[in-house]
């Protein structure tokens, strides 16, 4: 799927042309957010858990290289083959080389945002290798030839009727049947055949434990387990930030992860993989792809604490009304808007501006990433690096001048006239976008400043 290089406002505008769909998308995700709130409130120690998780991750990031080496040593001892990839290309090439050694051109893959980030599916497809996504949501977007729009709920933008139609086209279910149970059963049958006939399974990694060299994969469908247990070769792909130091830290994260993601107390399957079973090959690919660079950016380092629960997306009032695809990046929403410019400032300069900085994301984040503050900071960096539109820059310079010169401001202001032209707020534009769906405030007869002069001058303060 080609990446759309389009700006968030334009894509969001498109999404908003169908207001009914926006309402439905917003309400569905709000419902998930409300479930999250309920689940969080069942634990009086919730905020303490968040603190703890944040601190554990802080330790990981401060000592990342040591933990990685420790993990590698232990994984090797366990009989896992360890690979290192500097970027997406290397990651994809490593996966391909394992497949080639096996002489295999088909595989199953459970959910992994890392492989989305590396565009593994497209790469393998070009190499003539067939990938079947086994997560139901991922499979649906794969059939639709679309990228996922959410990291936990990949096809949340699709209504069940659309899914029925897709299944009718690709899996031969009866036309017009949109019953979720029926469709799930049909998908199961279709996937079962793939599980049984594929020799290689790829999974993601939710947590990798330095102390033991094992890794944990969390799914609600058990599809990762099914794939990994039936395959002769299991390849696990992970970003290097997925490490945690000790096995006993796992409890903190497992308690936070699904409560934050879907409001469930625990993921249905949290599977530990420590060593290959006899006769099986197990590989792990440790991927950097910009993470070291982000680690070096002091203001944005904390973004690497992310455990990909998706809570920041569900709560984000902008995401809920603009849809995941408007972020044109594998990871959408608030956290994606911080991670994307690290990968490519030019292509993703729009994303840190796709926020009102309301701060709700920061409050739900189970590892306490200062998300909205980082969005603010990215804006400063992107402007300094020259990625601001020229019109905006000119308007800002005009504003900065006016507001630094009170006399000029008063004159220009003369009860709102200048304001009417240059605000709301700032973009000099004949087709004032404010006016499209909102009325302008009526300018009063006099400004407060003038009123004060008339009525309180006796105070003599000027």
């Amino acid at each position: 799927m080609p990446k759309t290089i389009a700006e968030h406002p334009a894509l969001a505008d498109k999404f908003n042309q169908d207001e009914e769909r926006v309402n439905w998308h917003d309400q569905t995700l709000w419902w998930v957010r409300a479930k999250r709130d309920k689940a969080a409130h069942t634990l009086p120690e919730w905020e303490e858990l968040r603190n703890l998780a944040s601190q554990i991750k802080h330790n990981v990031l401060a000592n990342l290289s040591e933990y990685l080496i420790q993990f590698e040593e232990n994984a090797l001892k366990n009989g896992i083959q360890v690979h290192w990839a500097a970027d997406a290309q290397e990651h994809n090439a490593i996966v391909k080389s394992i497949l080639q050694k096996q002489g295999v051109s088909q595989l199953v893959k459970s959910k992994s945002m890392l492989t989305e980030e590396c565009h593994l599916n497209e790469y393998l497809q070009q190499e003539g290798i067939e990938v079947i996504d086994t997560d139901l949501g991922e499979r649906i977007v794969q059939l639709a030839e679309e990228p996922p729009s959410h990291i936990v709920l990949p096809c949340i933008h699709k209504k069940k009727e659309e899914i029925g139609e897709l299944f009718h086209l690709h899996l031969g279910t009866p036309a017009g049947n949109a019953d979720p149970d029926f469709l799930t059963a049909a998908a199961r049958l279709h996937l079962r055949e793939k599980f049984l006939t594929r020799k290689i399974a790829i999974t993601g990694v939710n947590f990798a434990i330095a102390e033991t060299g094992e890794f944990v994969v969390c799914t609600n469908e058990g599809n990762a387990d099914m794939g990994a247990h039936l395959a002769e070769v299991h390849i696990a792909c992970m970003g290097i930030e997925k490490l945690i130091p000790l096995r006993r830290h796992l409890g903190v994260f497992l308690r936070l992860l699904t409560r934050s993601a879907t409001g469930q107390p625990i993921t249905t399957y949290s599977s530990h993989f420590k060593k290959p079973r006899p006769g099986q090959e197990m590989h792990i690919v440790l991927v950097d792809n910009g993470r070291s660079r982000q680690l070096g950016r002091k203001d944005f380092r904390n973004s690497l604490k992310c455990i990909r629960c998706g809570a920041c997306m569900n709560t984000c009032p902008v995401y809920r009304r603009s849809g995941g695809h408007s972020y044109h990046n594998a990871i959408a929403g608030p956290i994606g808007s911080i991670l994307a410019p690290n990968l490519n400032m030019k292509d993703y300069a729009d994303l840190p501006f796709a926020s009102t900085l309301c701060g709700s994301c920061t409050n739900v984040c189970p590892v306490k990433i200062d998300i909205h503050d980082q969005l603010y900071k990215w804006r400063q960096v992107l402007v300094q690096e020259g990625y601001a539109p020229a019109a905006k820059k000119a308007a800002m310079q005009g504003m900065a001048f006016t507001f630094s010169h009170p006399a000029f401001y008063r004159m220009a202001g003369k009860t709102g006239k200048w304001f009417m032209k240059t605000t709301p707020f700032v973009i000099n534009n004949n087709l004032n976008p404010w006016f499209k769906q909102r009325d302008m405030p009526e300018p009063p007869k006099e400004s407060f400043h003038d009123w004060y002069k008339k009525n309180r001058q006796q105070n003599g303060h000027a």
């Binding site: 908003n16 709130d37 009102t356 309301c358 504003m399 006016t402 507001f403 401001y409 304001f419 769906q437």
Partner: protein
């Protein structure tokens, strides 16, 4: 004790009534309030758009205007938050002034509850009122508890509104959802901003609000723009106007 009144640019230009109510409320408490004439804007629109480097002129002016007062009070949570978080001096020698201002600036409702600790008001407003919690005041200044956190609820503006005779405060389905104003966001992301505003207005209308109030005039201006476009009779009023009225 001298209070410096900070009236943000758009309140000065478009909503003098909110500013007058703020001034009168403070004066009723027997405080000496001064209004430095050379004030303009806190600089937030530039900073939030990524142009914080252009705000030094605003910062310098702000420091000149407010360096001598004991407290600075403003009817706009988001401007107060901007000053609190981002005001800084050009050189180290002036940093103590900047520090003093950052520590001593208050949004009106938090000033009334936390500093003056007022327990009653002589005000009456016999209407159904919806309270819009603006994000910067709420999540930034923490003037009320946030629905995402597992913690005891509180709300400084609501505490004040409950002191107003015959005022009926309505419940909302989404207590602290953002209205979508967001400074320049309201034009750069017009589609989303307007949709968020419409949804916010709807929540208030569905619960029977006759007035929408809040501690941040900018969000109210956005909601008012939508109400007017819909030809709604529902009005917005800054919380200072309600606390200062005797209807």
């Amino acid at each position: 004790m001298t209070i410096g009144l900070f009236i943000p640019c758009y309140v000065d230009q478009f909503y003098p009534k909110a500013a007058i109510a703020t001034l009168e409320l403070l004066e009723k408490q027997g405080l000496q309030v001064v209004y430095p004439f050379n004030q303009t804007c806190c600089g937030q629109p530039m900073a939030n758009s990524g142009f914080a480097h252009l705000t030094q002129g605003c910062n310098n002016l702000f420091m000149q205007n407010f360096k001598d007062v004991d407290y600075i009070v403003s009817p706009s949570g988001s401007c107060v938050l901007h000053i609190k978080d981002h005001l800084h001096a050009e050189n180290a020698a002036d940093e103590p002034v900047a520090h003093h201002i950052r520590k001593r600036i208050y949004e009106l409702t938090e000033f009334l509850t936390d500093i003056l600790k007022i327990e009653n008001l002589k005000a009456r407003f016999p209407y159904k009122v919806g309270m819009h919690q603006s994000c910067h005041g709420q999540r930034g200044l923490k003037i009320s508890q946030m629905s995402e956190l597992v913690a005891e609820p509180f709300s400084k503006p609501e505490k004040l509104l409950r002191m107003v005779e015959d005022l009926e405060l309505i419940e909302l389905s989404r207590k602290d959802e953002c209205c979508g104003f967001g400074g320049t966001f309201c034009v750069t992301e017009e589609a989303i901003s307007a949709k968020m505003g419409k949804d916010r207005v709807k929540d208030h209308l569905e619960h029977g609000a006759e007035f929408i109030t809040g501690a941040d005039m900018s969000c109210l201006m956005h909601l008012e723009g939508i109400l007017r476009r819909q030809k709604s009779k529902v009005q917005v009023k800054h919380i200072a106007e309600i606390l200062n009225s005797y209807a």
